[in-house]
């Protein structure tokens, strides 16, 4: 395949798609909106296939673990995934059997795993949140204020923690977060401009 076919055509397709979607966002042109809508639908379909690809990768990896290491855990993982998919496909995700599966197995397991985080946080916080410098001490104090502000008992343990916590949230944290948001937006604009001008070539063959 010639260099033009391998590089220039994919770049041209990327430039056209990006220009179309951005132009549609900022104008009221019906034809542009329709074309942009179709492109976005293609994106959703491709993302759906990415999920399917993830499933294949998951089954393939655990399948290798079963064959090579006779891993019981991988066996349970594959059986659970395929069993859930089979029930969903055969009976519909809104069936009572599928609901039973999610209410009695998936929900308690998900909540338990989520709850474990609290135990790990207390152990990690004890060992790592040390005031080794002035800056670390300030971060620690601010974090403690926000935690106290967020719990009802905090107002009784440390009167005045609510306005102090709100000040940290509304002024200090907000300023930092606005900086991140603006930096992110500027980065996105630059990425868009590079895409429109055809400078983004990471995805094409060398």
């Amino acid at each position: 395949m010639s260099l033009i076919n391998r590089r220039e055509i994919p770049i041209a397709i990327g430039v056209a798609a990006c220009t179309l979607v951005i132009a549609s966002y900022f104008t009221d042109n019906a034809s542009l909106a329709s074309a942009s809508g179709s492109l976005q639908l293609w994106g959703i379909i491709i993302a759906g296939f990415a999920t399917l690809l993830g499933l294949f990768s998951y089954v393939a990896y655990n399948g290798r673990q079963i064959v090579k290491k006779r891993s019981v855990y991988s066996g349970v993982a594959v059986a659970s995934a395929l069993g859930t998919i089979a029930i969903g496909l055969a009976l519909s995700p809104s069936s009572s059997q599928y609901s039973w599966l999610t209410s009695n197995i998936l929900t308690p397991l998900s909540m338990s795993v989520g709850s474990f985080i609290g135990f790990f946080i207390v152990s990690a916080a004890f060992r790592t949140f040390r005031a080794r410098s002035l800056e670390a001490g300030i971060v620690l104090a601010a974090a403690a204020m926000i935690m106290l502000k967020n719990m009802p008992v905090g107002e009784y343990l440390l009167p005045g923690v609510l306005p102090l916590g709100n000040w940290l949230n509304d002024i200090v944290s907000l300023g930092g977060n606005r900086g991140f948001t603006i930096a992110f937006a500027v980065g996105a604009i630059i990425a868009g401009v590079r895409q429109i001008l055809g400078f983004e070539r990471g995805r094409v063959a060398k």
Partner: protein, 275 residues
């Protein structure tokens, strides 16, 4: 080994037991601590109050089942307020488990209020694509969702026939453990002016706060505490209020062990300096 060294090398099982016992305590002996209601929660409730019977709201379940322990109370409370006002609901999700969360926590409240499926509420389920998907459903919902979560033809659902794009929706509410609030702020609020309400997990509250301050997000609840406040505001204390005392105790344990860790650290450093 000195007392400070013993403290610094404390067995993690001591911390786990302390955490477990103090979280369990409020469930055994309810503390019922009074709680100051924040302006965020009041604004959230007032925004929903302004909806009229028959208005349509897009509820986006952008959380997995693991986040229900944080936001479950808020989900039920929103369902109670919307159903009490006769507001119609269309649910979507950017997270695969989001449709299950809707079915388990939101739907029972609607059905007990006499809501009819397809007419008063619809659960469309999960669609891949994140921000692209959210931009697309604003323009044409049935192009993205040709079928609902139960497999029904979307075109056959009367509610979806009437509410096929952004123009039919009075507002969007997202229960968010990720970044969906930003997606809706950009693709629904900035582009079409549809108000967006966000119920993020506690850790994401600061992340979305600039959007709230800038007006891109109309109202926001501050994680589980915000959900507990919202329950009190609608006069239906439930899941969030049951958990808020346990959450307080859990956070107290974390703060106590951070203090203990620093006492050991500073004490040990002073001792070494003296030597």
């Amino acid at each position: 080994m000195s007392a400070l060294e013993r403290l610094a090398k404390m067995d993690r099982r001591v911390m786990y037991w302390a955490m477990l016992l103090l979280i369990a305590l409020p469930y055994a002996v309810p503390l019922g601590l009074p709680m100051q209601i924040s302006t965020y929660s009041t604004e959230f409730k007032t925004t929903i109050d302004a909806l009229a019977p028959g208005d349509v709201v897009l509820v986006s379940m952008d959380i997995g089942l693991g986040s229900v322990s944080e936001l479950g109370g808020g989900i039920i409370a929103l369902a109670k307020q919307l159903s009490a006002q006769g507001v119609k609901v269309v649910a979507v999700s950017t997270v695969a488990e989001g449709s299950l969360v809707f079915d388990q926590y939101f739907r029972p409240v609607l059905t007990s209020a006499g809501y009819g499926y397809g007419v008063d509420y619809v659960n469309l389920g999960y669609a891949a694509g994140d921000e692209t998907m959210i931009a697309s459903i604003a323009e044409n919902m049935r192009e993205v969702y040709s079928r609902d979560y139960a497999g029904n033809d979307a075109a056959s659902l009367p509610l979806l026939q009437a509410a096929d794009d952004y123009s039919a929706y009075r507002l969007v509410v997202t229960f968010d453990a990720g970044t969906a609030t930003g997606f809706y702020a950009r693709q629904w609020q900035a582009k079409y002016g549809t108000p967006v309400l966000s119920v993020p997990t506690a850790v994401n509250f600061s992340y979305f706060y600039p959007l709230y301050q800038a007006g891109s997000v109309e109202a926001i609840l501050n994680g589980p505490r915000g959900c507990a406040e919202y329950e009190q505001l609608i006069g239906a204390p439930g899941l969030a209020n049951q958990g808020i005392d346990a959450l307080s105790m859990g956070q107290l344990v974390v703060i106590a062990f951070i203090v203990l860790g620093n006492v050991a650290f500073v004490g040990e450093r002073l001792r070494r300096r003296k030597q």
